[in-house]
């Protein structure tokens, strides 16, 4: 039951909320608008609609090379983070070992520390280990930093897991390994997908850590960064608009997946005798 009396809804608060929303979305709207502007990135109002910048973008090989690099790193990063994150979440949920508290904090550090610190530390490590800076070092950086995201999400998923299901599986004769594949993992499906999408997005966007670990091959954010040093063109608006569109699409997919999975679970609940 709602408690707010409709006559008590404050018009000032509503107006303020609208303003905050406007503030949050203004730059994005401007960005998208000017990606279609023939006369460049500044001035007002934008006239002369054109798709020229998008055409230029599609012919820009360097950008698309960097996109591929980013995708490679992101995919590998997701794989690494999810695997280690899953193990870490399981360990935190089920095992007791010396240094567990320290481990938990350590895993979460990259999430809360400014990226420059993690990036520089890994750079020092790479030099120390005699590694050449390349996409490999970038991959190591992303994967390591993003373990924390996977751990947090999967730990939450494990908490919701009904322990009795695993016990029932063991009772029916399945080995722990079989139980893990047949019972634990399927129950974590939603958490895995959510974590995966988040890690993917964060990796595609990562700059601070990548800044110090990048070799000759650029990731997308760093390619854009390099362009910015040379001068602003609406082509950057265009790629930014595309990034925005993809991000929104990802959220919608994630949302639908979530709703459908919850829907299936609810369905199963109803069909249970």
């Amino acid at each position: 039951m709602k408690s707010a009396n409709s006559q008590q809804r404050s018009p000032f608060l509503t107006a303020y909320a609208v303003l905050v929303f406007g503030f949050i979305y203004l730059p994005i709207v401007v960005l998208i608008a000017y990606s279609f502007n023939r006369d460049g990135v500044g001035g007002f109002p934008p006239r002369h609609f054109t798709l020229g910048w998008y055409r230029q973008l599609f012919n820009d090989a360097a950008i698309w090379d960097s996109v591929i690099n980013s995708l490679l790193v992101a995919a590998a990063g997701v794989a690494l983070s999810l695997t280690l994150g899953l193990l870490a979440a399981l360990a935190l949920d089920r095992a007791n070992f010396p240094g567990k508290a320290l481990f938990r904090r350590l895993v979460l550090l990259p999430l809360i520390l400014p990226g420059i610190i993690t990036g520089l530390s890994l750079l020092m490590f790479a030099v120390f280990a005699g590694m050449q800076l390349s996409l490999l070092t970038v991959f190591l950086g992303h994967g390591t930093a993003l373990i924390s995201v996977a751990t947090t999400e999967l730990f939450a998923g494990l908490q919701k897991l009904d322990r009795a299901q695993e016990e029932a599986s063991l009772d029916l004769g399945a080995t722990p390994w079989q139980t893990f594949w047949r019972v634990t993992l399927p129950n974590l499906k939603l958490s895995l997908i959510a974590a995966g999408l988040l890690i993917f997005t964060l990796s595609m966007d990562e700059i601070a850590v990548t800044f110090f670990l990048i070799g000759r091959d650029n990731t997308l954010p760093l390619e854009i960064w390099g362009r910015l040093r040379r001068g602003i063109t609406p082509e950057i608006n265009a790629i930014s608009t595309l990034i925005f569109a993809v991000s929104v699409a990802l959220i919608v997919i994630w949302y639908r997946l979530r709703a459908r999975t919850i829907g299936t679970q609810a369905q199963e609940l109803l069909e249970r005798p």
Partner: protein, 281 residues
């Protein structure tokens, strides 16, 4: 229920990885802060010279102060924007609450760089804002202080971190059982008193979490000054970055990083204690 083998298998790989790729690197950074650079080469001689330089040379302190001021401004502005928004969504939005929540989250998924770049194009002398003001004849010349100033950095970072601050506050507000709000009104407290006496105190853990996040990340940000800040807005992380780049002095850079890390760690520790004190189950 879980055998020792099971527990070992799940615990060892992440532990090993984290030790190798997190603990060791951070330790390396720590070690570097006690070393030196001489004639362009790294000398592994243990000393406190870097730290002494940090505390005696006023330049570093000034930059650090500016950084703290910017971070504090960002945190304050993010709170002033994020809290009322969270409050509105939680208590006044009604059936549209879920949709509006998604709308707030969307910008979080959009690249930091993209958003920073957007502000760059808006605030510049040839930018959208100046164009807009001139179009309306509010100004006749481009205003230059919008871009390449601490103001621009605060603006951009506030834009980045407002949704981050919004999230934990919204979660905390949603957790407040509505009967408590009704009980407060029932006992004679109007909306303002109910907010101050019941809602605000119970939302403090979320508020602290969001504020800490915004402050700490702003403190260590080096990209915003490079994008929109200009030389007058150099922050402490920019100094670190240049020490690892053109100004080649890794030990000094490491020393500053260690200081940032220590400040961050103690802030996190303090807020964690405060959050515990202010959470009521």
């Amino acid at each position: 229920m879980y055998s020792r083998l099971y527990k070992t298998v799940i615990a060892v790989p992440p532990l090993l990885w984290v030790c190798l790729f997190l603990l060791l690197p951070y330790a390396l950074m720590f070690a570097h802060s006690f070393w030196l650079v001489r004639d362009g080469f790294l000398v592994h001689r243990w000393n406190l010279q870097n730290y002494r330089a940090l505390f005696t040379n006023p330049l570093y302190f000034q930059v650090f102060l500016r950084t703290a001021r910017i971070a504090a401004s960002v945190t304050l502005c993010s709170l002033l924007l994020g809290y009322p928004l969270a409050y509105y969504l939680s208590f006044h939005a009604g059936p549209r609450k879920e949709l509006l929540y998604q709308l707030v989250i969307v910008p979080l998924w959009v690249s930091y760089l993209v958003r920073g770049y957007a502000w760059k194009t808006i605030l510049g002398s040839d930018g959208v804002l100046n164009g807009f003001l001139q179009y309306l004849h509010i100004t006749h010349e481009p205003v230059s202080f919008f871009l390449y100033s601490p103001f621009a950095v605060v603006l951009m970072l506030t834009h980045i971190y407002t949704p981050f601050v919004f999230l934990p506050i919204y979660a905390a507000l949603e957790h407040i059982p509505r009967p408590l709000v009704e009980a407060s009104q029932d006992l004679g407290a109007d909306r303002r008193a109910t907010f101050l006496r019941v809602i605000l105190p119970l939302s403090i853990p979320g508020l602290l979490a969001g504020a800490t996040f915004a402050f700490v990340l702003s403190l260590g940000d080096f990209l915003a000054p490079l994008l929109v800040g200009g030389p007058s807005a150099t922050m402490i992380a920019n100094i670190v970055q240049s020490l690892f780049g053109a100004a080649y002095d890794w030990p000094l850079g490491a020393a500053i990083s260690v200081c940032i890390l220590l400040i961050t760690a103690s802030l996190l520790f303090t807020t964690e204690r405060l959050e515990k004190r202010w959470s009521f189950k």
